[in-house]
Amino acid sequence: MEKILEVKDLELSFHTFAGEVKAIRGVNFDLIKGETLAIVGESGSGKSVTTKSIMRLLPEHSSEFKNGHILFNGKDLTKLTDKEMQKIRGKDISMIFQDPMTSLNPTMTIGKQIMEPILKHRNVSKSVAHKEAVDLLRLVGMPKPEARMKQYPHQFSGGQRQRIVIAIALACNPQILIADEPTTALDVTIQAQILELMKDLQKKINTSIIFITHDLGVVANVADRVAVMYGGKIVEIGTVDEIFYNPQHPYTWGLLSSMPSLDTADEKLYAIPGTPPDLLSPPKGDAFALRSDYALKIDLEETPPFFKVSDTHYAATWLLHPDAPQVDPPLAIMERMKKYPGSRYYEGTEGGTY
């Protein structure tokens, strides 16, 4: 259980035309060596911004770290100089982006683009870098890698381009790989291929992955742990099973209920009412309260702290306070909880009462 990355009380704002947007409002999480942590949430919840701030890829003139640390191997990434950060990017931490159609340089051969981080971070000759780039292409499943080195991005399909982006990200065997919705822009069948590839590669090189997505199906497929983000904060974090079968935060309930599934016969799909909060002037208290059916008076007054559910499972909702009334989650969620030992609705025989 070696922690490779610790994000502590991270707060980040954008200075925009309209005013200060508090995009991240106190985010805490750890990343353990070799695990895959999924960050889920709606658009604008701050999940992409969180990872971009780890890489320090946000525009410097408009974004500002207000508070907190990002500790990587004991170094605080928020405090590094640009030069020091350049040595970490692409070598220790690398990133895969959402849209493979636009994330490759259109006027540079893909061979050069893959060789770039190798030449940059490792003291090797061009011919070695070339050979390694070919190997990388083979590793990500590109047929005829030698011949394709000299081609330009527009000669590849979307799925192939994402494989190239993955090859670039893996070029220096990074300790952390950040995947920012790597499959969102791809066809469903290609999505599966890319996910399989990533799982495969993770086993081979033992890297930690932060996987950003809003697709809970993908989360179930790849993640070890899940962090749910809402309004610039993590509202619940736990193992995949804990989040899927014993969720505690009303927002997580909402997210899970709005996921279509084959085994629930419900014809009507649940939709969370309302829109995400305006982070120009974030609401007081629990940001989700205004959209929640389970809001308490205190939700409108004070921000809930993290309540411990288990050693690996925390949720920030006043519902877990000992004085809070017992509420029943939506039916579909209760059905799920019945299957999870340790939840208060468990109906199995292992006898876990809450």
């Binding site: 035309f17 959209r291 205190i298 939700d299 702290p305 309540f307 006043w318 009334p325």
Partner: protein, 339 residues
């Protein structure tokens, strides 16, 4: 991570009912296209300064000749080639009517026994430059605005029809444009001016003859882009007429582009008029525009630099202000810049 928190009164944990329709309420005041654009323009110092400069120059173009005690046409030969002299400022050693004569600095007003003031001096025929500059500005602005409006009307109509109807109509119209576009503007303008009677109308016709093509290409591109977008298709499925689609859906969306482009046509037209007048193809005396004034001044640059100076300053200010304002408008209307 679970914390011991301060005692919270039990009633805080009462359930409250949240009206979820409330959650849909948009708290940010909604801004119309124009309000939004104005907000952006207001932040652009260059554009705001330009608006003030333009307003000032336009007002002066009409008021200037009236406030000057001398009118633009009267030739007072005894008052020829006087340098600028302004009441009040003369004591500061500037605008005091001192000029160079045969290598020596002398007060030309005193020498020529002139007891009046010419704020911008006089030209070789003793005409008041102040009135002439502002009347020239009037003519230049008139040519520029009329040319820009004609360009806009023809360009929008041509490009709009070509883009909206598409198919064969578009094909034929675009072939015509393709050929016309190949003809250098300079060549066509010079040829037209050689044939036509020189004057304001001739210059406007010459400038607009090819000027509308740029606008038509931009408008066509925009119409093509918008006519296949979902909101237009949706309106069409609901049975909206062509007229309604054009006026309610397409036009408001391309209005920004049209305005920006027109903003850039104006300085181009001002420049072309000045250019033509400078090479002797523009207005003929006694009509004067900024271009002809500069041409007159250029011939006397070594002896009477003030004749060149003032029309050049006004012309340059006009061009800078229109370009800056165009830039500001482009930034304000360009949705790509929205953050």
């Amino acid at each position: 991570m679970s914390l011991d928190i301060k005692k919270i009164p039990a009633e805080s944990f009462e359930r409250v009912h949240i009206d979820s329709s409330q959650a849909e309420r948009i708290t940010k005041p909604s801004l119309s296209f124009w309000q939004d654009a104005w907000l952006r323009i207001r932040k652009n110092k260059g554009a705001i300064a330009s608006i003030f400069i333009l307003v000032f120059i336009i007002i002066m173009a009409f008021v200037g000749p009236m406030v000057s005690p001398h009118d633009a046409e009267t030739q007072t030969i005894t008052h020829a080639n006087l340098p600028p002299k302004v009441q009040g400022l003369e004591k500061l050693g500037i605008f005091d009517g001192v000029g160079t004569l045969a290598g020596k600095e002398v007060d030309l007003y005193e020498m020529k026994k002139v007891d009046t003031y010419y704020w911008f001096g006089t030209d070789g025929l003793g005409r008041d430059m102040f009135s002439r500059v502002w009347e020239g500005t009037q003519i230049s602005l008139l040519i520029a605005f009329v040319a820009a409006i004609i360009d806009m009307v023809i360009g929008v109509a041509y490009g709009g029809i070509s883009g909206y109807y598409g198919g064969r109509v578009d094909d034929i119209m675009q072939r015509v444009v393709e050929i016309l576009y190949g003809i250098p503007t300079l060549v066509i303008v010079i040829l037209m001016l050689l044939v036509m009677e020189p004057g304001v109308t001739a210059i406007i016709i010459a400038i607009t003859l090819t000027g509308w093509i740029g606008m038509s290409r931009i408008v066509r591109g925009q119409v093509l882009k918008f006519k296949n977008q979902e909101f237009v298709l949706a309106s069409r499925t609901l049975g909206a007429s062509n007229g309604r689609i054009i006026s309610k859906h397409i036009l408001p969306n391309i209005l920004g582009v049209i305005i920006i482009n027109t903003m850039f046509t104006i300085p181009t037209a001002i420049f072309f008029e000045a250019f033509l007048s400078f090479i002797g193809l523009g207005l003929q005396a006694p009509d004067a525009s900024l271009g002809t004034l500069i041409n007159d001044g250029y011939k006397l640059i070594r002896f009477q630099p003030h004749i060149l100076l003032y029309p050049s300053i006004v012309l340059s200010l006009l061009m800078i202000a229109f370009n800056l304002l165009g830039d500001g408008l482009r930034d304000a209307f360009d949705p790509k810049m929205k953050d």
